[in-house]
Amino acid sequence: MSDAVPAVSGRDTLIRYLRDAGGVGILALAIFVPFIGLRLHGHMNGLALGYRPKLLAIGVVLAVLARVLVLIWQDRRVHQGRAAWRAARIASAGKYVTPLLLGFAVLLPLVPGIANFYIDLGVLVMTYVMLGWGLNIVVGLAGLLDLGYVAFYAVGAYSFALLAHYYHFTFWECLPLSGLFAALWGVCLGFPVLRLRGDYLAIVTLAFGEIIRLVITNWISLTGGPNGIYNIPHPTFFGLNFNLGGGAGTFSGFFGIDPDPKQLTTYLYYIIFFLALLTNWVTLRLRRLPMGRAWEALREDEIACRSLGINVRNTKLTAFAIGAMFGGFAGCFFATRQNFISPDSFTFIESATVLAIVVLGGAGSQLGVALAAVVMIGIPALLQDLSIYRMLFFGLALVIMMVVRPRGFVSTRTPSIALGRRKLISSELISEGHG
């Protein structure tokens, strides 16, 4: 497809473009005819077909146009060869991106007149930043492919929801418990998969996620099944709740201000912001401990690890447990934020989204994961008007972003340990692990 030979003459280029675009047109026609050209309609006695020739023509023309644009773009890239220059510029800009992003995140809810919607969106994005950072420990640092991360999110959320529902625990009591339970489940998952590698590991983690979801769905007497659990309490601020009624014992009543739904959202925002920063801080610290170094060594070469006397079993189990713990915290927060949880929130697509955030950010890079979460969660949420087309574009964007930047947004890494100055190294030099 992408021949590296630059076009010699204009006529050759034109012929190449025409042939290529013609091929794409034929493929697009074959692909679109049954789905865009024809439409099934339900009838009293069976089905009938409708025809949409205009839409079909538009689809094919769009596909051909897109292909031509890709060809032009590829040719330009071959001519200019600015990849190295661009990488250097992005690396130097990275120094400013972190503090800017952090400052923006701190100040977002304090912007005067900001709509509740945007703070709420910030809460959502921050949840995924935290999940991404949690999964990054497993995938990015230890190099273990986990397709069932949502299981720990679910364990965290349901731990809190069930404890609150049956025993009236509060959010702050449950937060550590949720993390603990999730970590225990992480170890439970870790044991059977210790010997597995690559795709075997991927399918078992995926299966684990499905098992948790199916059990939650079917154990109706405990979890309410598909109907979920309602009335999960919101967090309190040193014992003050955020009821909109005002009065004694509420946040607004205590401080003598008007009750406003924004107060709760802002509070939730800072909780998840703090939790996410905690995840990041713990990860950065752990990377310097022997445990974190063992993770990265495991990712680079498992056999070398064994020969050097690193306990591979403990290394894998701690990676699963700590990654799971942060997933559990995030789940607990999710339950308190939503007020209501059901198994629908914990499908494979969530695992896939979080994994996509990690990979798209550049597995192992903390900043990249945060950027990817903003792009992948924030932008689709702003495009809610597109409703049914949203996931269509989400899938398309995943493919395009991966093809354009296979190593993720941030393609350099800071080594965890170095002699003298820490130089940035290209992520091409980081291996992805076999587990």
Partner: protein
């Protein structure tokens, strides 16, 4: 009660055949380029949809011969799914070949989401149903008033699967294309050096795998009669499980894994709770892999240092 068990056995084998066919596509792609083709289950779903559209077109034209319609639907679906497989590989996987291992995985997940939502937005989210194409069956035995039935559809499915797998085995073992595929599986770089057109063979692998998924899709459609845009996900995961259970990369393993999963599902639904049948499948997968980390028929991968 033997009769009941026999009935579950027949149902399980039928289901297992469908899973096995999809699993072969997974395992082939994995064997050759070592990636999980997550979109494979959705190609299966596309195959089923093309089938229902062709059948509807046939009945719209007033042609009543259902077996002929089914055969045409099968052919059209195989061709179109081949085109889908070819395009998916070209657009989403080939640019990522030889890059970061997780990149094609995410690209494949994106492709799966794209296909699902493409079908949902273009054909609607409703379940689509057709009447049973080949009704009837014959009685095998009767015990205490329980009749063991084997429907003509089940026979058709088992026969079609065996024929398809036969053709497929012939391609892989006896033709130059099959030889090239096996060569790439062993060592892609060396095969390329010896004059195998790697890109073409990989493309063809995707086309063949997708064609098998199309056959599975048509069989699913005619067996269950109801499809929606989401069937690809579950079937894909099950087939992937089957491929891994049998030992990913091993073709007989994929069929064996498919049959096992079909049987587990049928017997679990028959004797325990239907709600937990998937839990049973996944748990057995985890248990088998604990003791045989490379699946039932998979080779242990030897790592050179």
């Amino acid at each position: 009660m033997i009769a009941y068990a026999l009935q579950q056995l027949i149902n399980g084998i039928t289901l297992g055949m469908v899973y096995g066919l999809i699993a072969v596509g997974y395992t082939m792609v994995y064997g050759i380029i070592g990636m999980i083709n997550f979109a494979h289950g959705d190609v299966f779903m596309v195959g089923a949809y093309v089938g229902i559209i062709v059948l509807t077109a046939f009945s719209g034209m007033g042609i009543a011969a259902v077996p002929v319609g089914l055969l045409v639907a099968l052919l059209v679906s195989v061709v179109l799914c081949g085109v889908y497989g070819f395009t998916i590989e070209r657009a989403a996987y080939r640019p990522l070949r030889g890059s970061f291992r997780l990149a094609p995985l995410i690209s494949a997940i994106g492709m799966s989401i794209l296909l699902e939502n493409f079908v949902q937005t273009s054909q609607g989210a409703k379940d689509r149903a057709i009447p049973e194409p080949i009704p009837g069956g014959f009685k095998i035995m009767q015990q205490h008033g329980f009749v063991v039935q084997m429907s003509y559809m089940q026979i058709a499915i088992i026969v079609t699967t065996l024929v398809t797998l036969g053709i497929f085995t012939y391609i892989v073992t006896k033709t130059p294309l099959g030889r090239a595929m096996r060569a790439i599986e062993q060592d892609a770089k060396m095969a390329a050096l010896l004059g195998v057109n790697t890109n073409r063979v990989i493309s063809l692998t995707f086309v063949i795998g997708s064609a098998l998924a199309a056959v599975a899709g048509i069989m699913f459609l005619s067996y269950y009669g109801v499809i929606n845009f989401f069937i690809g996900f579950n079937a894909g995961i099950k087939a992937f499980t089957a491929a891994v259970l049998g030992g990913i990369g091993s073709l007989p393993g994929a069929v064996l894994g498919g049959l096992l999963i079909g049987l587990i599902e049928a017997f679990w639904s028959g004797y325990a709770t239907i709600a937990y049948k998937d839990v049973a499948v996944y748990s057995i997968l985890a248990i088998v892999l604990m003791f045989m980390p490379t699946g039932l028929l998979g080779r242990a991968d030897i790592e050179k240092v």
